[in-house]
Amino acid sequence: MKFMVIVKATKESEAGQMPSTELLTAMGNYNEELVKAGIMRDGAGLHPSSKGARVRFSGKNRSVIDGPFSETKELIAGYWIWECKSLAEAIEWVKKCPNPMEGESDIEIRQFFEMEDFGEAMTPELREQEQRLLAEAAKGKK
């Protein structure tokens, strides 16, 4: 099962405050463990939402809204993609994570949809397309 593990933003991360060397060291060690356990697929930290944008879809209209966005605690500061046996395993790994922020913080764990979740709506042709696209995207990966 694949999971997206989301580090939620805080006032500090949105203000562009960067992590201390101490936290970066602890996080580096933690990431080493994730890689050794074969769980980690990807991970990154994101710039504050002030460097981001949103596009709103409404009928045929597309309007671009520049960051920053106000609902700080619901924004994303970073994420991992993990392959785990179960949600319980993902939770255990998150609990081992150093607190990614100076103060209180949340990490959210969300499961990927797999092919079988789409049932009959996912026709054999669409399934074949999806697999081909993923293979091609993987080739383009650095």
Partner: protein, 141 residues
Amino acid sequence: MKFLIIVKATNESEAGAKPDPGMWDAMGKFNEELIKAGIMKEAAGLKPSSKGKRVTFSGKNRTVVDGPFTETKELIAGFWIWECKSMDEAVEWVKKCPNPMQGESDIEIRPFHEMEDLAELITPEQFAKLEERRAALAARN
């Protein structure tokens, strides 16, 4: 530059509504274009937050909170990772995307911290270790 492109949730996606077949086909074509342009690195849809959890960090405490989470419009329904030349290029591509939801919806575009941002924050030893890990991950993928 790498970007996380976030499809924000709606009441329908949180309720587990099946995708509209027309939208699904249009999204398949859009994804084909992204791949042809060499932009797409990764993509996935996420199950509603009712199947997710949160862990709150407070001092030494770790508290597990079960989904669903209430602030629907701030949740994530899916994402891409793209490699683009600029924020402008990413915005142009998002504008070409079929509306991923039945009604009104938002897609958020957020640039990654790049290695050079980190180089200023961590020691050369830490940076070397980070590069090692990234190489190991790339080899595995």
